[in-house]
Each structure stands twice: as C-alpha cells, then as structure tokens.
Symmetry: C3
Subunit: 316 residues, 3 copies
Amino acid sequence: MKHFTSVHDLDNLDEALKLALELKKDPYKYQDLGKNKTLLLVFFNSSLRTRLSTQKAGLNLGMNVIVFDINEGGWKLETELGVIMDGDKPEHIREAVPVIGKYCDIIGVRSFAKFENKADDYEEKIIQQFIDYSGVPVVSMEAATRHPLQSFADHLTIEEHKTKARPKVVMTWAPHPRALPQAVPNSFVEWMRATDYELVVTHPEGYELAPEFMGDLKPEYDQMKAFEGADFIYAKNWAAYNDYGKILSQDRDWTVSDRQMAVTNNAKFMHCLPVRRNMIVSDSVIDSPNSIVVEEAGNRLFSAQTVLKLLLDQMK
Amino acid sequence: MKHFTSVHDLDNLDEALKLALELKKDPYKYQDLGKNKTLLLVFFNSSLRTRLSTQKAGLNLGMNVIVFDINEGGWKLETELGVIMDGDKPEHIREAVPVIGKYCDIIGVRSFAKFENKADDYEEKIIQQFIDYSGVPVVSMEAATRHPLQSFADHLTIEEHKTKARPKVVMTWAPHPRALPQAVPNSFVEWMRATDYELVVTHPEGYELAPEFMGDLKPEYDQMKAFEGADFIYAKNWAAYNDYGKILSQDRDWTVSDRQMAVTNNAKFMHCLPVRRNMIVSDSVIDSPNSIVVEEAGNRLFSAQTVLKLLLDQMK
Amino acid sequence: MKHFTSVHDLDNLDEALKLALELKKDPYKYQDLGKNKTLLLVFFNSSLRTRLSTQKAGLNLGMNVIVFDINEGGWKLETELGVIMDGDKPEHIREAVPVIGKYCDIIGVRSFAKFENKADDYEEKIIQQFIDYSGVPVVSMEAATRHPLQSFADHLTIEEHKTKARPKVVMTWAPHPRALPQAVPNSFVEWMRATDYELVVTHPEGYELAPEFMGDLKPEYDQMKAFEGADFIYAKNWAAYNDYGKILSQDRDWTVSDRQMAVTNNAKFMHCLPVRRNMIVSDSVIDSPNSIVVEEAGNRLFSAQTVLKLLLDQMK
C-alpha cells in the first residue's frame, strides 16, 4: 500500500480487518513502530471524530503528530498552472505540497467536495496533488468522493455485531436541510461490495450514486421493501450526483423511525455522525439499544491506526 | 475522586496541597504515570493560562495531550431533546460527548456562563453533560459557576506566602468595562471556606454572590474596613448574581490602589489574570514587590498537575 | 547565545553551519537532549513552513511542543504603560509575557511588521518584550525586521549547492500585489554579509533597505548587470523602507524569468516561499531543475533544530 484513499488500496482486506481487531484489544502493542515518525494532518474542512481519532491513532503508535488547519480564507492555494498570481491566493499548491512533505513521514488530508464543478470533485483534484507532489504516503481523512477510514470503521463495526455469516446491510438515504457530499455513501457502497455481505441501497429516484461506485448494484426505490429482514441499517443523506449537488427531496417519510425498523430482523442502526435527530433518524431509534453509532465512531480510532500501522510497516 | 469540578471533589485537601508542593519541586517525578493515557482539552471559550498550563501539566505526567477548540460558530451543539434538527446545529451533545470520550482517558472542559439564562448557567448544563455521557473523568477548566483549578492555585500561592498560621484573606470586587461571570469569585470563596484562613468578601451592595457559595459568610460593604490588617488582597470583577449578569457599578473608587493597600498588613496582591490595569488595580500596586500575580499564574501548572495525578492514580 | 533574533546571536557561525549539516544527516542524534523541556511557539501571524518546521525541530530533539495562536481580534494585548484599560484590550503584555514564560523553557515568537509606525517596527516592540519579560530564551520565528531562521536555512542551502569557494549571490527585488515587510531581505543581507560570499543586491530606485542592514553595500539598480555571472539568484519582494510601507513599483520587467537567468553562471534559483508565480518568478524558472526552493524550505527544519540544540546545550 503506497497511499490510502479507498478499500482497493489495502493489499488484503481480511488481514487488515484482523489487524484492526487486534489493535482494538491491545492499542499500544506497536507503540515503538512510529518512533521518530511524524504524522501531519492537514484539514481543509472542519472535523471532530476524524481529527481526534486520527491524532490518537498516530500517538498510539508512538508517532509525533502535528495538526495543520488550512483556513481557506487565510491561506488560499492556487491550483491552476500558468496563472499570474496577482490576486488573493499567495501560494501555489505546487510549492506548498512538496514543502509540507519535507516536514513529515505520512500526510493525512481532509478535503471535501466543493460542489462547484463535478469534474473537479470526482477527479479528486486536491488529494491527488498531495499524492503526486508530497513525496510521502497520503491517507484520506475524507476526500471529495470517498471517506475510506469511515467505511473501514463501519466494516469493523458490522463484523463485531453480525450474528450470521452474510448479514443483510441496507444503506438508506434520509432527509437533511443542507446539500451533503456523496463521499460517505460512495465509500460505504464500494467497501461493502468488497465484502461478501448482502448489500441493498435505497433512496428516492434522482439520488442515484455514480456508476463507478454502484457497479452492477441497482437501487431499491421502495424503502420499506429494502428494510425487510435487514440486519444493519446504515442511514445517510447525500445530495444528487446526476443533478450535481442539488437537494431533490426533504421528505421526512424517509426519516428512519420505528415504522421502518419494525420490518427488519431486529437490525442495528448505524450512522457516521454527526447526525440530525428527527431528520435522519427519530430519537426513538437512535436512543434504542439497537443503535450502535457511538461504538461505530469509536472504531474510527482503530481503522486509522490499522492504516497507519500498515504504512509504517513499509518504512522499516 | 471521579471528576474535578470543585474543592469538594478532593478526598483530602491537605494532601492535595502537599502533592502540589511536591510537584512544584520535582515536576517530572511521576512522568511515567501518564504513559499511554490521553488528555483531551475541549475549549468552548478562549484561554491563555488554562490552555498552556493544563497542556504542560499533562505532558509533565507523560500523557498524550490533544487540544480541541469548539468554535461556537462552526460546530454548534443541540442540547435540547425531542428537537427536529433542521436548523444550524448539525450535532446533538448526546452523540458528540460520548464519542469524544471514546478517544481519551481524561477530558478537560472549559465552558463559561452565557448569561442567557441563570438556571442554565447555575445547573452547569454543559459540563454536566460531559460528566453524564462521556464515560471518563472530567476536569473543569472553568465552568459556568466555578473555576476550581484557579482556586487551587490561589490556595497554593497563599500557602507559600503566608507568614502566620491563619492569614486574613480579603476578596474585593473591582470595576471592569464588561459583564464577567461569577465563576472565579464563587470558586475562590468556596475554596477558602474549606481552609482555616480568615476570609472577608467586600463588594458594593447588589453584588452579593449566590447563597450556596457564601453560606454563613456576610459581605462587608465598606472596602476600607475590609482591607484593615489584611495579609492577602484578592481582586476580581464580577457581574451581579441577583440582577443576573448586570453591571451595577463601574465605580473606580473600588480600584485597588495605594490608598487601600496602606491599611493592610503589608498585604500581597493577587488576581487570576487577565487583569485590566487601572480598572481592577493601579499600576503602582500591580508593579509593586507585593504583587504575586505572575507566580500565582505559574501555580496553575501545579494545581492542574495535582488533579491529573490524582485521577491517573485511580486508573492504575 | 541567550536569544536568537539575528546571525549576530550565534557564537560561531561556522560551527552552527556544521551542526546543521550534521543534524540533516542524523536528525534524531540528540533526541534525548530536549527531554522534559517545553518549546512554546507563539504566533501573532499565520504560518506554514515556520509552524511545521519549528514544531518538528523541537520534536526531533525530544522536546514537548505547544503551539499558541494569538488571534489578534480575540486576544489583544495592551503594550502602553499607564493606560486605563477600559477598552477592547483585556490583558497587558507585562502580565501575559512573564506568565507564558512560566509554562515553557524556550519561546518561539512570530510577529510581523505592522507598517503602522516605522519606529515601532524597527524597535521590535513585540519580540523585545518577550526578551525583556519572559525569563526564558526567545527564538525569532520572523519578527518585524528580521527572519533569521529563514536566512540560516538559505545559508545552509547555498553551502550545499555552491561549486566554488566564493559564489556570487544576487538578491533581487521582484513585484508583488501587496506591501510586504523587509524582514526577509534585511535578514538575508545581514546573514550573507557575515559569510565570505560575494553579495549583490538589486532593486528599483526607492527600494533601498535600512542602512543598518546594508552597511557599506551599495545597491545595483540595473538588474541585468547584477545577474551577470551569478551563482545564486535570491528573489524577494518588499515594500519601501524610506517611504515606509509603500508600493513604489509593480514593474513585471523585474519578474525573474529566462531572460535574466540566461546571463547568470547557470545560477540556482531561491525564494523563501510562499511565492507568487509569474509575479516574482516565471513558471519556467521555478519549474526548472535549477530551482531549489523546495529543498531550501526543507532546510528550515535544520536551521530551527540547530538553534534549539544550541539553546538546550546551555541548559544542561
């Protein structure tokens, strides 16, 4: 593994999962591995879980960790070539990224979709420049189209809670007042398709995800039908991909509540957080014993630590 | 001690004081105690002394320290139950707090009184949620009604400078251009009442502190009379408690100056800082050899380190 | 060396340079030296290279590192004496600085020229207060009139790339849309004059630097003549010193491009970064193999680590 931006970067998913479970049991087992290695976390966007869990993951491995917030107002980067830089952007990414790479051994980058231009987002213009020019391994802490550390933690959580070899996992769209990126749903679908779980994706018409993530999978537009017999419900809002960045529905019939949970196989409820209560999910569902959202967030520590451990192994 | 939010959380004040003095002599004596323990400092409000001293206290004990600034603009937390979260608050404190608790072993929280609602402030709505839901020990780095790490440092400072067994300690209100919380004076009074010092509180009428902090103690409205024979003068502004959050006086006769200091027993001058010169205290007093404000601030390191040491002891 | 604010603070420049080269080969050689020492980095202004490289320099030496951002809006410091502090500045630098000094062993300070008052800037009012009142060694991370960690890294870079004992080093002014401080050019000239390199400074008339930095050196107003036979081109914009803080020219004929580089001795191109492409330098020059700007920025780590190592040596 040279960089970590999707499930496909892992050489062996089963072994990565085994390592994550091992680290959860004994988080300090490899605490000498990161000695004299510096992890630099670069945030173009705000963060709570990712910020804290990835810092702790590096510290658990004995790394030095430096956090760098790029205030987009204060430190705008020019990304186009050939420009006369006489405007409000004092630095070109061509200088900034290789310089950042001089001060660390692994870079984590968070850079959300901007919804300004679909091609820019789906070509992953920002994180790709870190991969191309930093000279060190790059870990996605949520990029424009994927949030793989989240999906890895989701996988770990399902593995810990499943009661049958091949659980039925249902990802459902749910309403939200703002336009959210597709990174989490894209990444979840991609990651689940790399397991042998049964995966069903349900959303209103118009909310189809990009074909590169869905592959052969067809969405089920009937949410109640999708939920039948489900072992895990994974709720998430996203804005439209085809009508890029648009909010097409705020239909609260899609809010996950007791009505839909009643037709599942006593399903566990999951969400990546932060979650809007009574928009995405009813209080009754998220406060029920079947809600595993806090434990799921806790697993973010171990997905990050696993990825860092695998990258450090290759530096020995 | 499960949490630290007031002097009453200490099992034994004398021993805590002794430990603080021991740590001041040898700050690195217990530097292995915090190995593989993470201290997370959550700031809802800005900070200089608390931020730096508490970080250093954790590092002195060998802890990993992570600082997390909650920009109230960027990461607003919903605190009410049953709300449809379709507004500007993307996350509920019911998810945020237990998740934060997953990434650390001890949480420090700073959250000032908001002066919007007296009951909300005096019920300590924010820090109480951390105590109820984080699952780990919580240390107050100044909450709505108390600032116990400050009071502990004040106690340590008086102990180091007292020249008689039972010094006379006078806390005086002084004018300030803005409405300030009662956390520091509440906490100082509560802490001093747990010692055997002689305590006098003086302020203009209308500035009475909450009965739960004053207990049997009656304020002295005549500042000059209060200062007579004092060994320590502790100055502080606060806004009214009864007429909640109001500024009732900006009378600069209450500014601590040579006139009042002249009637003391060559008293030491104390203040928690930051201090408004020539509002709270004259240049002549704060720049005099009797001013011990910088040493007092330095003791913040040892009050924090003592509290962390006591909490870590219980995790062994 | 008690503090580090200019080349003149180094006891022996040759030995400092040798140490920097040694640290570059083996960055972790002195990793026990900083044990239980805390480096506090105080930023009044934003930073990328300085922030990251100085943090890493401290960590490489085994120090604890704490970063403190002073948001000038949120934490304004009063610097005048005798003022009645009833305005928007809650704290006086006379309290803030000695308190900060209580929580660390070495302080790094970044505080740019404000261009409000030439005397205030050239008297180094801010960093001087840290030197006078903090009680610990102070390292300039760019002050109003000098940026010595940058100049030291520049020196190291030239030393690594020079192909003759006494290379010709040309510092050239170049256009920029905003008024920039003279700290980098002042410091570069001062540092180069402490070496035995041949130094030429070229800029349009009106951009003369302060006499205390130029000494006997006369500027060459003809840029092409200055570049003839140069081994190193060091480009930088600055605003006028005499007509203090003014932009007198934005003449893009001064932009370093192939035309000027053609008359050099195959010169290396240097800049402290961030750099405005096609204002300061053409894409063709900064993207050429002769551009060593990224390596130069990388050397910031070793200039900082050298200075910290020398200060730590004196604490043993």
